[in-house]
């Protein structure tokens, strides 16, 4: 069974969780033998952009020591064989059409998403 994880909710509780919960779940299932790829849609295409920095969260004497590092998470996923695909039109809509993306992230035009989905047994949209 091959599953396409469609991630659409971006930066939701990433400071609290120190990651994206769906990307985390995807890695955990991959480690358990799952066969999954990721499609970044909507605002989550920003996850593919180089230069994200979530460090510096501080409340009183409390300081976050392990901020979310989405770029590292995506690179690790790609290195483990999880294809990470970003919708190119969503990048363009957000002024990111020419931005440098994390190495290994593939772009797909919105009009080709239906074709991409047909390559998977199941599509899970989070």
């Amino acid at each position: 069974m091959k599953v396409l994880q469609v991630v659409s909710s971006a930066y939701r509780a990433t400071f609290e969780e120190q990651d994206d919960t769906v990307l985390w779940l995807t890695q955990a299932m991959k480690n358990a033998g799952g066969d999954l790829d990721v499609l970044l849609t909507g605002n989550t295409v920003n996850y593919a952009v180089v230069g994200q920095d979530a460090s510096g969260l501080k409340f009183g004497q409390w300081k976050q020591t392990q901020p979310p590092r989405i770029e590292e998470d995506l690179s690790r996923m790609i290195s483990k064989g999880i294809a990470v695909i970003a919708v190119a039109d969503d990048l363009i809509d957000r002024g990111l059409g020419d931005s440098a993306l994390i190495e290994g992230v593939r772009r797909v035009h919105r009009g080709d998403v239906a074709r991409v989905m047909s390559n998977y047994d199941q599509v899970w949209r989070w």
């Binding site: 469609v6 659409s8 998403v113 239906a114 989905m117 199941q122 949209r125």
Partner: protein, 108 residues
Amino acid sequence: MKHYLFIESEGSFAAADAPQFFALAREIKQQGDTVEIFLVQNGVMPARAGSKADGLSAALQAGIAVMADEMSMRERALKASDLVTGVKPAKIGTVVERTAAGWNVIWH
């Protein structure tokens, strides 16, 4: 050929990408797969005749079957006679039936 059930729970009044979700349904149909749309929660509100929401009419024009959850309709005083032509009331069991039949059921 694959089968898809798209569940729309928000509609374009609340979700800017709802029209894209409907457009994806149209593209799936165009590539020869089966697709239906199930409206639930506030997703039924664009199904009221006279609604100015984006996306739904194009899906209907593409020949996609569109259903509206009966409980969500009732909660919003939306009668079957109020629905835009082409949208049919349906029970939540439709989701279970399609899931059990192996359709790709995708929530938005």
